[in-house]
Subunit: 341 residues, 2 copies
DNA sequence: ATGGACATGAGGTGCGCACCTCATGTATGC
DNA sequence: GCATACATGAGGTGCGCACCTCATGTCCAT
């Protein structure tokens, strides 16, 4: 009743099991013509490798290294925690997922990637900003047969094998859609807060946000972006300035970090009516903000899902298996107080 | 390097492989004291069955039957489609998922469940309203060793093994949270539409909805529920009546089916300003409603996720494995035009 | 012709487990 | 004390695959 096995495949291709094995596992010493015959037979009988049996026989786990920036933003903390949790849950799937932190120095990071031994590592997951060094390091990894997946932020110029994350343009659109509806008809002024607008993600979000605001909520005036740049005092001062110029502020869209400070500032400012607040990423701060009512909506992505998806793709690629597009789509999730999990 | 195997387990328990096998697979002919010894050894060395190897050796797929009502609501269509898609994607996981439709007659349905051969079927997934017949049939299934999972609607009195779906009280709360925010401050009248309020799901949603409205949006007046009862003309008439009495209607919460008719009605009525509309379940109609702007938000659940989760639980139960709570939580998803996938 | 490089086949082993048979041991009732 | 029922062990087989060794065959350059 079952699917075809390598035995069926060998028979169909008219070669021995050994040759099938050589072709399937990319070992050397097979004529091109023979490889082609096997591949045709694969197509013909619809052979797909049984990943269970394979990993059983391989007697070796699927090893993945996840690189996440070392740093103290809450979101980074969430990512690191998600990697660790996912690692545990994937152990029973014969996947060993290791977390590795890296410091910003691009040389050091690229060197670390270059030192990866393809014998030890099947795939690499990267949450990292794109730099020329990284681009070269990724290319080098590919050449040595280590698959790469970018998560959360794409690395569009690094020819990474996969990107797993949300579409940030649509995330920005979603934020605008919500904030616009929350504010209702009539003119209003809203602020946009970002860590920095140089990051690709923030640019995309801002772009999507502005488009929807312009198209659907023309009466809403979006003030120039307040950039935090990881400097609490600077952000505080900028916010204070903003509020002095626009005491009628009715909404805030926060695209990145700094939410803790933002919420504290808003609480202190005692603005009435309370401004509508839409932020990104579920963290302890934003979770609490939802619960206390300081935040109206959080736009987020399921980190566990992202990591599992990344690993499924790396594995599927290695086994030359197709993936289920549908299951791998990363949703832009909207959380309010009442659907918080 | 690896996890303990049955060999380690046998050694630890001081019994043979045969006995370990008998205990693990619940075969008869083992003294209680011996069973206990094996189970203690399992605890001690932390043995967990390797599900891959097991299903390989079992030479038999995990067979699941999914029962979905035969009927022509769009949501039912989505559920059936999701079952079929999931079935395909799970084939490579050695899971055979079959879809079976049933007609409303509780006798016939219960008889069908009673006729299930435990030799053929490992688990049953049910999307069905609870009836006394069903309750008995589920109990009977359990007794014969067939695990059962209710999806979407719980069967609280049927002692089903698992329920996989959203918390409808929170779903109702979420709807109210959104609709209340969309309407902004000030008094407003809103309508609630339901197929029927006798279904447990609708009751829960309504309850959650009312609570949040009362607590957070006291100025909003929730009109009595309009019940469709699967009768298009009746619904149409009721809506017309409602609008005659309350021409200042500003919001609509639709808890179940009938959205197609509702949207047509609202379009024809030309209400200004356009009422804010929050509905449940993503269907072709509600998807289009989001895109055209007739619907502000859809509250939904990922059917593929629900089905995969149900199967993971049935399998984990059979193999006596723990599940990852986190991964199995079914989210109450909020969709607006811009995060539609 | 001869050696060497390369392509292929034959066949075995074991991964962790389920499932089966048969033999042997032990307690129980009469 | 003997038949009987039951508990347990020993050992084998195969699932689909990866990985390994060794033998044999084919072709080419010299």
């Amino acid at each position: 009743m079952g699917r075809p096995t390598i035995n069926d495949l060998a028979a169909e291709a008219g070669v021995s099991l050994a040759t099938v094995d050589r072709v399937l596992n990319g070992r050397a010493g097979v004529r091109e013509a023979t490889v082609a015959r096997v591949n045709e037979a694969i197509e013909r009988i619809g052979y797909v490798r049984d990943p269970f049996a394979a990993s059983l026989a391989r007697r070796r786990d699927f090893r993945v290294l996840a690189f996440v920036p070392d740093g103290d933003g809450q979101f980074l903390g969430e990512v690191r925690a998600a990697v660790q949790k996912t690692a545990i849950s994937l152990l029973s799937d014969r996947v060993v997922l290791d977390l590795e932190l890296f410091r910003p120095d691009p040389h050091v990071f690229a060197a670390r990637l270059g030192a990866i031994d393809p014998e030890d590592v099947d795939g690499v997951i990267l949450m990292a900003p794109e730099t020329p060094h990284l681009r070269d390091a990724v290319r080098h990894l590919r050449e040595r047969g280590v698959a790469t997946a970018a998560i959360i932020s794409d690395l569009p110029n690094s020819r990474v094998d996969y990107f797993i994350g949300i579409n940030n343009l649509n995330a920005g659109r979603t934020a605008a859609s919500l904030l616009g509806r929350f504010l209702g008809p009539g003119p209003a002024r809203i602020a946009v807060i970002a860590d920095t607008l140089t990051a690709r993600d923030s640019l995309d979000r801002r772009l999507g946000f502005d488009r929807v605001m312009a198209e659907d909520f023309p009466e809403i005036e979006v003030l120039p972006t307040v950039e935090g740049r990881g400097d609490p005092q600077g952000l505080e001062a900028a916010l204070r300035n903003l509020l002095r110029s626009f005491p009628d502020l009715r909404g805030v869209y926060s695209m990145g970090g700094g939410n803790r400070l933002l919420l504290e500032f808003l609480a202190r400012s005692g603005l009435t009516p309370r401004p509508r607040v839409v932020v990104h990423e579920l963290t302890p701060t934003t979770r609490q903000g939802l619960q206390t009512g300081q935040i109206d909506a959080v736009i987020t992505q399921d980190l566990g899902h992202i990591l599992r998806s990344a690993i499924r793709r790396l594995r599927a690629g290695r086994d030359n298996r197709p993936i289920l597009q549908e299951q791998e789509r990363i949703r832009i999730e909207i959380l309010v107080r009442d659907n918080l999990y």
